[in-house]
């Protein structure tokens, strides 16, 4: 399942790049992160509990930065292993200057297998979309925080 979009940030490209490459900041954008550890500058691992309304989906996620061209492009491969699902995702973003701000073009290819997958695409596709929206909203917050130095919430509000 492919999703893609474009998003504007009111922050300079370098600031956005920093957040996108800071594992701790990124962890704060992901829903339900319980623990996070950085193995090296290209590999991270996280234990997450993705809130799904009817319950949570526990997963061990491993992320690998597969390509990087500072300060404009990076791509990541993410693998998640959980009881109900196996997730694999590749994502990439492109940053460009947009006046004083930054424009991010992003795309992701998400694949889910396992019992959660058997719940049907009608449910999965919107779930993926809403998770992506949450990540982007949280990313906004992190970038705002990083560029203004104010303390915002460190994680998205759980619905």
């Amino acid at each position: 399942m492919k999703v893609a979009g474009e998003r504007g940030f009111e922050a300079p490209r370098e600031a956005v790049w920093r957040v996108l490459n800071d594992p701790a900041a990124m962890a704060a954008t992901m829903p339900g992160v319980e623990s996070f550890d950085v193995q090296d500058d290209r590999h991270w691992r996280a234990n997450v509990k993705i809130p799904l309304g009817l319950g949570t989906l526990g997963m061990t996620m491993s992320m690998e930065k597969t390509e990087e061209r500072e300060p404009e492009f990076a791509s990541l491969a993410i693998k998640g292993n959980g009881v109900g699902a196996i997730l694999s995702m590749t994502t990439a973003f492109n940053l460009s200057d947009d006046g004083a701000g930054t424009k991010m073009d992003w795309e992701a290819d998400v694949r889910i297998a396992g019992p959660v997958g058997s719940m049907g695409q009608r449910v999965l596709q919107p779930i993926v979309n809403q998770q992506v929206q949450q990540v982007l909203a949280a990313l906004d917050e992190q970038i705002r925080k990083a560029s203004t130095g104010t303390d915002g919430p460190t994680a998205p509000t759980e619905a």
């Binding site: 809130p51 799904l52 309304g53 009817l54 319950g55 949570t56 989906l57 009881v83 109900g84 699902a85 019992p115 959660v116 058997s118 719940m119 049907g120 695409q121 009608r122 449910v123 596709q125 919107p126 779930i127 979309n129 809403q130 759980e158 619905a159």
Partner: protein, 267 residues
Amino acid sequence: MLLSEVGYARPATLEQALGVLAEYPGARALAGGQTLINVMKARAAAPDVLVDLAGIPELKGIELGPDGTLELGPMTTYTELIASAEARARPILGEVCAQIADVQVRNRGTIGGNVCSSDPTNHLPPLLVALGATFTVTGAGGERTLPAADFFLGVYMTAAGPGELLTKITVPAGRSDGFASVPIGVDGTCIVNAAATVNGGVRVALGCVAATPVVVEAPSADAEAVRGAVRAAGLEPPSDVHASADYRAHLAEVVAARAVAQAERGS
């Protein structure tokens, strides 16, 4: 088919229920269970604790106010709603509930469960959004009321957050309503559905085309006007084995117009 280990509590009062929900962050309310138990069978969800709401009298019942306002207890089953004389004040409610699944599911499934599970193919989210219902959500901090349209946040996600319960659904008076769908087989899962009211303006809520109901206001009840309004909404529906995104978008126009036509006939 086999559930993960789970705790079970059967409170007798709303206060007790909220207490358990507050105490266990991984707790979920169990209403009729006609969605939740199945999701648990697939182990796509594994709540730590189920809080069975069946023993709480204040969550049941249907009351018709003097102004025609209906107050629905969320633990009202579809069957109870269909049989309710009061609920006939807004006949579309019973008509739509009678199309949901089958006798067994209607006997156990509740209207509160239907909206709280917020499955995009459910019947009641678009219907209650179209009717302009309001939902009362109760938590430790007290009660709040919000429009149905603001209640649905995503698939399986609603504004009833952790530690909170949907405690009342209020449906305003009105008669000119319609509902149309394209289901998979007679009374099967909806591929697309739409609810409409023409009490005042022409208001349509579309189901199955996004994570939550999509509201479309049409300038008139004319079929072309309704279809045009749906087209203008720029839907990007999910595609699955039953319908491509394009087909869903097309069906959305058709069922919207049909729902409005039914509503017109009732006005």
